[in-house]
Point group: C2
Chain length 336, copies 2
């Protein structure tokens, strides 16, 4: 029984924090991680948006993923939610559980990867804790965003006639995961190195759409990020507003790499639309906002595609080019 | 490799959240856990205080601890920090990792225990996630407190001449842990059932001093909670203010149960002062505030004891009744 076994070192955890994590605490309210808690002071008239999501080795990432990607992935899955809600990143807390045998090299890579994202997303580490675990590495992040009061983009709020939009491309990460399990698929799908690497990267490290958060709160009626598969997440978004959704399958945006894989193995489509890990934004928008939103997002390098419309009634329909409805064996991923 | 294995159920996690955790989301900004993020709107002129700490089965609690205690312990260790900083509880996020084989009965107990604390501490669940893990149960909580702007009680800020105070009693939890590992000690320590159970309870479930948070921000110059042992935590508090501390060993408050154990086995004193899990508040206070603070805390049922004074210089000294300094082999607990 390892419960509360006492170790001889006084300040090992303190040293680890000072060496690897204090440099990430670039917020005056984090006090360089030297206090027991941090302070966030929202600008007047602003709300704090709160989100927590954890990733676990062997469940959400591969134990042999590069260390620099693991902390970033944990942060980015949370930033993806904040972006969909229209919130600008403000900071995060992290509880890190590390197995025996973690090396300084691994910790250094982990911290440096995270540091790059702290910088890029302007999202400083505000605090947290580090523990030994007899289990796999677990990175539990709670992220905080800011937005003007009452402006959070909810799941509810879509209206009949609203356009259904999605950022980026769908299905890449699922194909990247397939390639991790089955590297030979790259040849069967005629991918070449560049396309293969694109899909692998999309699984390894999401690209949260933080840049478009301000445009989201200006234009979107309802939104969520696509993390559990487009089909299932669209069903959730539709149900939240008590609407039905009609999607034109041919308009669902796919990367060149995904198109090539799909051409080689058409049955992949199901997996691409239900597999998850996309971390794109799915939203409802009044049609007269679409051009302005597309333009604002485009200026930030984020592609936006209109894939369908909300209507009265219920249910989500994916319609192919022959006008036939496509059905799915399961809508999305669940742990339970 | 279990990474992202797809399961046939669409909404198992959603059902689990709706059944066990939505009833804990008693905050309008939590939206009944039906959205992807929550909103916290601090009252004007207030700061948000942020804290994250996780507990892991086999490390911070025993896998056979009653389910109702585990979520509460995870919440309470965070509330203890907020209380020491002078912040009133406002809400929390929870990332819960569950091993295979967790039963509905366990989940029900876990959620009901947590619900009692949500009620007692007025600290609603704001969001989070639930995952399967191949490792032990892990409960990662990020807790949020509120206080008037600039009023957080820092680790720094003590002055020479400030009184050193501690709430409650010290060493109980460490003895409770000893009793878990070595139940026969109860007889050797001549405890009887009531004293034994007192010590076991103090280890199983901390009692964060949330009630005195307002008095802390009114009266304390510097503070932290005692979670890693009085000796080590006092050293941290002293170092933060660049001061020395003199403690009269005889004044360190002990419970009746702890006194009895100590009488039977005097060598326990080291463990009681360095063992941790006390979750009491240690603070520095100008002497002219002590009476008012003691009175305010007493009215809330929280005992406060003055155990020593800060002075210039450095180092912490524990002085026994013969005027001799007691030394310790190690100051506190560390995972690394």
């Amino acid at each position: 029984m390892a419960v509360e076994q006492r170790l001889p070192t006084e300040s090992g955890e303190d040293r680890l924090i000072a060496r690897y994590f204090a440099p990430l605490a670039r917020h005056p309210g984090a006090f360089g991680l030297s206090d027991d808690a941090a302070i966030l002071t929202p600008p007047e008239g602003h709300d704090v948006v709160l989100k927590a999501d954890a990733i676990i080795g062997g469940v959400h990432f591969f134990p042999d993923d590069p260390a620099h990607a693991i902390g970033r992935k944990a942060l980015r899955v949370n930033l993806s939610d904040l972006a969909a809600k229209g919130a600008d990143p403000a900071g995060f807390l992290m509880s890190l559980a590390l197995p025996e045998g973690v090396t300084d090299e691994w910790l250094d890579g982990f911290a440096r990867g995270l540091e790059a994202d702290v910088e890029h997303y302007r999202c400083p580490l505000m605090g947290g804790d580090t523990d030994r675990t007899p289990g796999p590495t677990m990175v539990a992040i709670a992220a905080f965003g800011l937005l003007p009061r009452g402006k959070m983009v909810r799941r509810t709020g879509a209206q009949p006639g609203d356009a259904i939009l999605v950022t980026g491309t769908i299905g890449d990460a699922t194909l990247g995961l397939r390639l991790r399990h089955d590297p030979g698929a790259a040849n069967r799908w005629h991918l070449g190195d560049a396309f293969r690497d694109h899909l692998l990267r999309r699984y390894l490290l999401p690209s949260p759409r933080s840049a478009v958060a301000p445009a989201m709160r200006t234009h979107a009626a309802a939104a969520m990020d696509v993390s559990d598969g487009l089909v299932g997440d669209l069903a959730k978004l539709s149900q939240a507003s008590l609407l039905s959704a009609d999607i034109e399958l041919a308009r669902v945006p796919l990367s060149e790499a995904a198109r090539r894989a799909l051409a080689a193995e058409p049955a992949l489509l199901d997996e691409m639309l239900t597999g998850g890990d996309d971390y794109e934004i799915l939203c409802a928008m009044p049609p007269d906002h679409v051009t302005a939103f597309r333009s604002a997002a485009g200026a930030l390098g984020v592609a936006v595609t209109e894939i369908g419309r909300f209507a009265g009634g219920e249910g989500t329909r994916f319609i192919d080019e022959d006008g036939k409805e496509k059905t799915f064996a399961r809508a999305s991923y669940s742990h339970f």
